[in-house]
Amino acid sequence: MRTFEERYRTALDDPDVRAGLTAFQRGWRESRDAAIAELEAAEGRSFDELRQELAAIKDDVIANGDRYLDQFTANAEAAGAEVTRVATPGEANEQITRICHDAGATLMVKGKSMVSEEIGLNHHLEAAGITPVETDLGEWILQLAGETPSHLVMPAIHKRKERIAELFERVLDREFPPDDIDRMVKAARTELRERFLASGVGLSGTNALVAEGGSVMLVCNEGNNRMSVALPPVHIVTAGIEKMVPTYADAMKQVRLLARSATAQPITVYTNFVTGPRPGQRQHILLLDNGRTAMAEDPDVAAALRCIRCGACANVCPPYGVVGGHAFGHVYTGAIGLVNTAYHHGIEAAAGPQSLCVSCGACATVCPTDIPLPMQILEVRSKVVDAGAPTPAGRATQLAIAAFGQRWLFDLGIRAAGVVTTPLRSDGVTRVPRWLAERPGVREHVGWRTPPALPVRPARDHLKKGKLDEPSRLAAQPLAGRTVQLFLQCLSDRVAPDIPIAAAKLLRAAGADVRLPRAQHCCGLPAFDAGEQDAARTMVRQTIATLEGVDDVVTPASSCLAMLEHEAPHLLRDDLDDLERAQQLAGRTYDLISYLTTGPGRLPAGALDNGDRTPVTVHRFCQSSTTLQRRDSVERFLRDVAGVEVVPLPEAEVCCGFGGSTSIRSPELSAGVLDRKLGCVDGTDVAILITDNPGCVLHLRGGIHASGRQVEVLHLAEYLARRLPGADATPGGASA
């Protein structure tokens, strides 16, 4: 396989990839959501309940693997199959080649099998004089093109029909109009039909192995899989050992979620249960380990073995939508590929792809087996860092994190940068001089996203005791007599001070006594995100110590709350005392929107209605939706409390592409995700874009500025502070 860097560049350079995948993801999302809603209605249970049930079945199998494997083996052998356990890809390839040779077969028809991709089977067969023929339409197209699958379920989804038509014209030597997909499909049928009948061996993958009956469950829509299995005199099954389910009833629970998650169908056209060979046939079942036992024994990733290969995690993944599966994955693609590659193909193979994840959390919301994919990807990232295989960019990040961990050093650096860049500051951005902006190494970072203005003085300087003006007061005073500790967030404190300053104004206007814990620095998220878990642990512990007490803690940065609620307990899981402190802190910490809607600062309807009716639109910070379950709370708040018209933003909860360090490590990818977001913003025809996470604000602001769009990006706090009585309608002066 080509190097990650090559795959990444190729994907970025191919305009078909992004255009095709974005359309695919949008179409899939709509039909999948409808299919799941229908299922929830029919079953009278939520998707979460259904997937947890499936997860429990798979967890039982992961914990008791050997017992079910033995049961399956005994039953399959009683039905006439030969079952062999193989540890490595090498062993698997050897066995398969031997079976073909023993049968005197030179032609093999193949149903879809990810394990065969995992072990690189086709190369081995060809070297041994056996011709493999892929029979799944997508796989066949790729075989003709000399490519590998870029998706678990839709292997050729990265290819536009024009390219496929060209390929067919070249290989089959007749005309194929690109719009006549039916003709291409029928040609494949004709070409493949003879192969099914002439093959000495058929090979298939496995969707599930049913322990109680020794059956191999195989699903497909085209009919190719069952033909590969049923017709040739020898049937080889390749299966990862994790494919086990205890009973047929369990298999049906998988069926119920699999096709809906894969292709939004209630069930695939064919769901076959193959038990032993037919009369006159031999059946060999190869059960492959290749790192699976190691995964089962590692609590950080064991749950990844629940995977039923539906591909849903790729279908909602914004970076996948930009570069596709050849870069976003290795053999296994999408979010799951960022996890299991480390175990099936080694940590080096996992290093590049995992760096593309923006940690938006979308994958985990659709996974039908409820795998905590975002956390697992961060675990793999930390293993990559520990293994010491970072890229030059990775090494620079490490250094930056180390410097950043020292608050005084960071403060000093950023203040100095503020002074140095003073002449370049205008309209809240830093105008990079052209001679610099066009240099390689700078260009890819600033061409698409203008850097924010760097203030000389951080927010904390403005919010010191004695520095605060007399607040403007709202009629409603829900926070009268209440003390609020403001957690600034390191980024806004130094780069976007207007945000915490606005948040403080707002809280004080609602009656709060706002305090600023002096020693606060960083929740540890950037370090965790960079795979530096030790540094992250130190920072989160420091944050806990700083914020300890009994008052409410409010932060204008939803990402920090997500960190305290979700990642911090994970990082501190081995230290019960720290874990409890982290949980206590998370329990009294609020993001601004929850504090003002469901928390103590709940504002009544109309409280911020100043008569301004200029319509706005809202980008939902991805983790607000995926991790904090905020859904449309910002939109509702703006309508009810501020009385403003909110124009719905299409794909509102899809990540903007900031992704912490991703936008620095892989700027082209980040720019691609941002582009999709800004396209959606264009569609609303609104001049004010509101969001409630500072990272998104800076990223969107920079992108909008660089693209010349006339849209103002505001943090929720900034927007609301403008609506306070007597407020100036222009942004505050901290960055000036």
Partner: protein
């Protein structure tokens, strides 16, 4: 109630749904189908070839005579090379063990090669199921599988004609398997061989 839900599922999967009294009615129904006399199935004014799954033909031998009398040329692929006997046969008839209302699927048991080639190589597949075998949920099919578990077998839940969306997610009906499917529910319960 189960039958209505089943019908919805069948139609959603792009199959035709038909209720008929018994096998005799089915033969008459197919004989009267104008499509089957058309050139599309290569038959002029004669009825086309019809393949019967060997397990079905053996259990109900009078079906062969019934189809023949109605003008069909009947193939029962139970020789040495069953695939050659039915390669690209325009029409095939199989009997399903049961039907699942939840998904609009039928469960066909096709252990022998002859039974398999019938459902795989034909262009239009008629799946016949007794009304009293319709189960509500997939778990009903799981019960059947458990009862037959451990014995060699090839049980296929079939839901509609074969299809693909591999090219730009554009749905195309008819890939390797049949491109037309009729699901026929027989409302007068029959007991397989008893009917013969």
């Amino acid at each position: 109630m189960g039958r209505e839900r089943f019908r919805t599922g069948v139609e959603a999967a792009s199959s035709r749904y038909v209720e008929l009294a018994d096998w005799g009615a089915l033969i008459a129904h197919l004989a009267a189908d104008p499509e089957l006399g058309s050139d599309r199935h290569g038959a002029g004014d004669r009825r086309p070839r019809v393949a019967l799954a060997p397990s079905l033909a053996h259990a109900q031998p009078d079906l062969v005579a019934g189809f023949t009398d109605a003008g069909f040329e009947v193939a029962v692929p139970d020789g040495d090379d069953p695939a050659a006997e039915v390669a690209d046969v325009p029409l095939a008839v199989v009997r399903a063990e049961l039907a699942v209302a939840e998904t609009g699927s039928v469960l066909v048991s096709e252990h022998a090669l002859g039974d398999r080639v019938v459902t795989m190589l034909c262009r239009r597949l008629v799946q016949v199921v007794d009304a009293d075998t319709i189960v509500d949920r997939l778990e009903g099919a799981a019960d059947w599988l458990r009862e037959h578990g451990g014995q060699p077998g090839f049980a296929s839940l079939m839901t509609g004609p074969s299809r693909t969306a591999d090219i730009e997610r554009s749905l195309t009906i008819g890939v390797q398997g049949p491109d037309e499917v009729d699901v026929v529910v027989l409302t007068t319960p029959s007991g397989g061989a008893d009917e013969a």
